[in-house]
C-alpha cells in the first residue's frame, strides 16, 4: 500500500477549530449533548496505585454517576490496566458498561511484539471488551511504518472479539501531518477506533489534533466505506470542551458518529463536570463539587 502524505496547514486547522468552538450550545441542545457525553465516556483510572478498592469505586461511579437524579445514563466503559479487568468485569456484569483495558506495554510501548501480544491476550482472557493499544512512536518517527503497521495488524488479531482502539500518542508525533499519517496507518492496519493519547504525555487531546483525526476517519470512510470510531483522551476536563468535541464530530463526520459506538471520551474528572452542568441546567443553580462523588 502507499501511504499518502496529506498536507495540513496548522493555522487553517486552528481557524476551523475556532469556528467550531464559537458554536453556542444552550438549553435543550446542551442537555442532549451532556447526556451524550456521559454515555460516551470511558471512565478511566490508570495509576500504578490502582487498588481493587479504587476500581470498585470507579465501577460504581460508572453505573450510578449521580443518584440524586433519575434518568442519568451510565457511561460507556471503564478503562483500567489488564490486571484490574477481571474485577471490573465482575462488578459490571449486569450492566451494559464495557470494560476497556490498556495493553501493549502501555504507555510507552517500549517492549517486544511478543510481550505486547501476550499483554493483549491476557487482557482479553480476563474479559476485556475493548483494548487500547499504543503504537510504537519511535518506529513511526524513524520512518519504520511497516513495523507500526505490522504490530497493529497482529494485535488486532490477538484482540479476537475485542474492539481495538489504537492510541497514536499525538503529543509525541510532532506535527499534524504525522498525526494524519499515523491515523491513516492505524485504520489501514485494522483499528476499530483511533485514539489521541495515553493521558501520560502533554499535550494530550487537543482540538486541532482531533480535527485532523476526524478528517482522516471521514476520508477513510469515503475511500473504503468503513466506519472507524474516535476517542480523544487526556486533558478533557470540562463539559464545555466535551460539547465542543461533539460539535466537531457532528460537523466533520455527521450525526452518524454521534453514538458511543463510534465516539468516546477518555477522561476521569470530566464526568463530574458534566453532571454538575446537567444539574445546573435542570435546577438553574450553579453547582459545587462537594455534592458529587469524586470516585
Amino acid at each position: 500500500m502507499i501511504l499518502d502524505r496529506i498536507p495540513i496547514d496548522a493555522i487553517g486547522v486552528q481557524e476551523r477549530v475556532d469556528r467550531i468552538c464559537s458554536r453556542s450550545i444552550k438549553k435543550e441542545s446542551k442537555l442532549q449533548a451532556l447526556d451524550l457525553a456521559l454515555r460516551m465516556m470511558d471512565l478511566t483510572t490508570l495509576e500504578g496505585s490502582d487498588s481493587a478498592g479504587k476500581v470498585r469505586q470507579l465501577c460504581n461511579k460508572a453505573m450510578h454517576p449521580y443518584t440524586e437524579l433519575p434518568n442519568i445514563p451510565s457511561v460507556a466503559a471503564v478503562c483500567v490496566y489488564p490486571n484490574r479487568v477481571k474485577l471490573a468485569k465482575e462488578i459490571l456484569k449486569d450492566s451494559a458498561i464495557n470494560v476497556a483495558s490498556v495493553a501493549t506495554a502501555f504507555p510507552s510501548g517500549m517492549s517486544s511484539l511478543e510481550i505486547k501480544l501476550d499483554d493483549v491476550r491476557y487482557a482479553v482472557q480476563e474479559g476485556a471488551d475493548e483494548i487500547d493499544m499504543v503504537i510504537s512512536r519511535g518506529a513511526f518517527l524513524s520512518g519504520d511504518y511497516a513495523l507500526v503497521y505490522d504490530e497493529i495488524a497482529q494485535i488486532k488479531e490477538a484482540c479476537a472479539h475485542a474492539h481495538l482502539k489504537v492510541i497514536l500518542e499525538t503529543g509525541e508525533l510532532g506535527s499534524l501531518e504525522h498525526v494524519r499519517m499515523a491515523s491513516d496507518l492505524a485504520m489501514e492496519a485494522g483499528a476499530d477506533f483511533i485514539k489521541t493519547s495515553t493521558g501520560k504525555i502533554q499535550p494530550a487531546a487537543t482540538m486541532p489534533v482531533v480535527l485532523v483525526m476526524l478528517q482522516a476517519i471521514r476520508d477513510f470512510h469515503h475511500k473504503t466505506g468503513k466506519t472507524i470510531g474516535m476517542k480523544p483522551a487526556g486533558g478533557i476536563r470540562t463539559s464545555k470542551q466535551a460539547i465542543q468535541y461533539l460539535v466537531m464530530v457532528k460537523e466533520i463526520l455527521g450525526e452518524k458518529w454521534l453514538t458511543p459506538d463510534l465516539f468516546r471520551f477518555g477522561a476521569s474528572s470530566l464526568a463530574n463536570d458534566v453532571l454538575m452542568q446537567w444539574v445546573k441546567e435542570k435546577t438553574g443553580r450553579y453547582q459545587s463539587l462537594n455534592y458529587f462523588s469524586n470516585d
Binding site: D9, A10, I11, Q14, G174, S175, L176
Partner: protein, 305 residues
C-alpha cells in the same frame, strides 16, 4: 555653407521608435521642423491612433519580461544607457543648439540627463528595500508588501527641456518595471528621436521604451481611450483642456494618471535655460515618482510548523 557643402552632410530622417525598430507613421503624415535660423531641419512623423495601437501592443508584450528581470540586471541596462549617451553627448548638444539652445544650456542638459540616468539606475534594487514592507499583522501570518509595475504607461513629454523632460518621465517608469510609450515634444522633437538610437544600441529590450512624435492634442484622446494602457503621465504645463481630457478620459479603465512637473516652455529654455534645467534636474530625482507608476501587492501566508 554652400548648398553643395550642406549636401555633403547627410541629413537624418527622423522616425518613430516602436518595438526596437524605426517605423514611419502608418498615416504617412508629417510636420516640418526648422532650425532657429529658419532652415528646414527634418520632416517629423505625425503619429496617429494606429501608431499608438501598435506601440501599445509591443509595449504590452515587452512589459512582463522587463518586470521579471532581476533588479541588478535592470540597473545595469539603465546604466548602459548613460554610457552610450555620454559617448554621443556632443551630437545631442549640437542638435539642441540647432534648435536654439545656448551652448552652455545644451551642455547642462546633457550633463543632467546622463546624471539622471545614473541616478535612476541605482534605484532598481533599492525600491523594495526603501518602500516595500513586512507588515506585523496581529495573527499567525507572514505579510509583506512589495512594489510591482503598473504595466503599460503612456507619457506626454513636456515641450522642453527636449531630452531631460522626457527622461524625467521615462526613467521612473523603467525602474518601476513598466513599458513606456512617450510622445516627444512637438517643437523640440529631434533629440528624443535621436535618443531612440541610443536605446537601440543599448541593452534595453525592444518594446520597453517606445517613442512617437506628433501633436499631443491629436493623440491624447487615443491614449486615454485605449483599454490596455494602465497609466498616463503628463506635465502640468499642458493646457487645461488637455489636462481635463486626460482626467475625464482616463476613467475608461481607471488609468492611473499623474502630472509630474518635468518641463517648461521652449521660451523659458531660451530665456532662463540654465536655472530652469538646474531645477528640473533636481526635482526629477524624486523616487516617489516610481511609486506613482507602481502597484502595491500585499501577500499573506500562514506561519506554522
Amino acid at each position: 555653407m554652400s548648398r553643395e557643402q550642406e549636401l555633403l552632410i547627410i541629413p537624418k530622417t527622423y522616425k518613430n521608435y516602436v518595438g526596437g525598430a524605426f517605423p514611419r507613421t502608418e498615416s504617412g503624415r508629417y510636420y516640418k521642423l526648422n532650425s532657429v535660423d529658419g532652415k528646414h531641419l527634418a520632416n517629423v512623423c505625425l503619429s496617429t491612433r494606429k501608431d499608438i495601437r501598435n506601440a501599445v501592443q509591443v509595449a504590452r508584450k515587452a512589459q512582463a519580461s522587463w518586470q521579471n528581470r532581476t533588479a541588478y540586471n535592470q540597473g545595469q541596462i539603465i546604466y548602459r544607457i548613460a554610457e552610450i549617451l555620454s559617448g554621443r553627448r556632443h551630437q545631442f548638444e549640437a542638435e539642441l543648439e540647432s534648435l536654439g539652445y545656448s551652448k552652455e544650456v545644451a551642455q547642462l542638459e546633457l550633463e543632467s540627463a546622463i546624471d539622471l540616468i545614473v541616478y535612476f539606475a541605482g534605484w532598481t534594487d533599492k525600491v523594495q528595500q526603501v518602500f516595500g514592507a513586512v507588515n506585523p499583522v496581529a495573527s499567525h501570518h507572514f505579510n509583506f508588501s512589495r512594489q510591482e509595475a503598473v504595466g503599460v504607461v503612456g507619457m506626454l513629454a513636456p515641450e522642453a527641456p527636449a531630452l531631460l523632460g522626457a527622461l524625467a518621465m521615462l526613467l521612473p517608469n523603467m525602474v518601476a518595471g513598466n513599458s513606456s510609450i512617450i510622445i516627444a515634444s512637438e517643437k523640440l522633437a529631434l533629440p528624443l528621436c535621436t535618443f531612440a538610437e541610443v536605446l537601440e544600441t543599448s541593452d534595453v529590450p525592444a518594446g520597453v521604451v517606445n517613442i512617437l512624435t506628433g501633436k499631443k492634442e491629436e493623440l491624447v484622446g487615443h491614449f486615454v481611450s485605449h483599454m490596455d494602457v494602465d497609466a498616463l503621465i503628463a506635465d502640468p504645463t499642458l493646457s487645461f483642456e488637455l489636462r481635463k481630457e486626460l482626467e475625464v478620459g482616463s476613467t475608461s479603465n481607471l488609468k492611473r494618471l499623474h502630472f509630474w512637473a518635468t518641463g517648461c516652455t521652449v521660451d523659458e529654455i531660451h530665456s532662463t535655460g540654465k536655472s530652469v534645467i538646474e531645477n528640473m534636474a533636481k526635482s526629477a530625482k524624486d523616487p516617489y515618482r516610481i511609486l506613482d507608476v507602481q502597484e502595491v501587492k500585499t501577500t499573506w501566508h500562514p506561519i506554522s510548523e
